[in-house]
Symmetry: C2
DNA sequence: GAGTGGTCTAGACCACGCC
DNA sequence: GCGTGGTCTAGACCACTCG
């Protein structure tokens, strides 16, 4: 018979979705809401904090809480491990290593990761298959200055992502999503025509300010990232 | 000289990033951590809850808290209102209505939004410019069954997004991101060549289970969505 | 059964930011 | 100044789930 923070959150959400509390309007203070709901202020506070997180309201000390003018603010995309994503769709997963070498980092990579002149990297090209068909092309560069053990690691059976997760506990990541045209290599590997539009995800990873890896993931023709909220 | 939940969160995060607490390993219970940090359990609880949200740890009653095996789980993308996005880059914003009509919903749209046979929609094509150059092409369809006032609304000066935000307080949204090739129209409007790869964002919006609008946003050549975490 | 997280309470102090 | 949100505390009860 208690009022939970979920109840309060749902009730307020309802008032907003039904238009009872219009965008931009002021919401009663925590103290007043606590009285109304017959709960402690901390409970109301938790409900309100989650509404802020969900992008529905804005709060300022003294000024109070308001319904946001544009309630749709951010979307979350799950970025699953590729094998899980594919098997989650009920398809079989297969991994293949296409190319592997140790090279001095090219200029564009040095600039992107902030590597010094002459830094060496392990360069890998891999393919991920779903139900036998190419699904994702992975172009991976690993900083040997930070991860020297990557020089001799065996990536013929284990995908770089898996290997990396075992090496570095947690990292800071920067993600970019663009559309790109298939070049000859991509077309061949992803079984499409040169010039076809493909969704490309780039990811740069750092650990304590130092570059770990850069990867360019190009998805098969027609691939679609989705989310809802 | 108190220990805040932020302090605790940062400390635990540090132990994880430094590899002191390896992925999969068990974290001390809230009660023990509260004693260690000399704080209340609620404070530890808040720190831990945020770490769950950030995708770093997993918790189960009785079983305890563990460092996640794959710490990188989800990314958030801000989806700003287009005008803010452009002006936030220091560029001038301009809006133009290209085409407007009221038509029976085509089959593909009826299927996508779950509209009944013969449902009418307002179809709009708009352009958003940044610093005079085309930035985004908007192909918008509004369900007149739910929003009859859209039939006669004037979209020559106000973008549909703005207008919609004033009509519907909050909605459920489904987003899809794909790469697409420019057709003749898109190439002309976005000032690129036919066949060029473009980033396309599709959004279907519902309000209390009923379809509000479907929009296809196609960005200029080279557009990049970014985020970090 | 018992340990762990999930949540609520009642009270308190503080910091920010309008007025 | 002073109202509002931000946070901490100490204690409590409960629900889940592992052993």
């Amino acid at each position: 018979m208690v009022t939970t923070y979920r109840d309060i959150k749902a009730d307020i959400l309802g008032k907003i979705t039904r238009g009872e509390w219009r965008p931009g309007s002021l919401i009663p203070s925590e103290l007043e809401l606590a009285e109304r709901y017959g709960s402690a202020r901390a409970t109301v506070n938790r409900a309100m904090r989650e509404l802020v997180e969900d992008g529905l309201i804005e709060r300022k000390r003294k000024a109070g809480s308001r319904v946001r003018l544009s309630p749709l603010r951010q979307a979350r995309f799950d970025i699953p491990v590729i094998q899980r994503e594919i098997e989650g769709q009920g398809a079989s997963y297969r991994y293949a290593l296409v190319h592997s070498e140790v090279v001095p980092a090219p200029d564009w990579l040095r600039a992107r990761l902030g590597l010094s002149d002459g830094a060496e990297v392990r360069h890998l090209v891999c393919l991920h298959f779903a139900a036998g068909a190419p699904y994702q092309h992975e172009d991976r560069w690993i900083n040997l200055g930070l991860l020297p053990q990557a020089r001799d690691a065996d990536f013929s059976a284990q995908a770089p992502t898996e290997w990396l997760m075992a090496q570095i506990p947690f990292s800071e990541v920067e993600i970019g999503i663009t559309a790109t045209a298939a070049d000859g290599d991509l077309a061949r590997h992803l079984d499409c025509a040169p010039g076809d539009p493909l969704l490309q995800v780039e990811r740069s990873t750092r650990w304590e300010e130092r570059a770990v890896t850069y990867v360019r993931l190009v998805h098969r023709l027609g691939y679609r990232m989705t989310t809802r909220y």
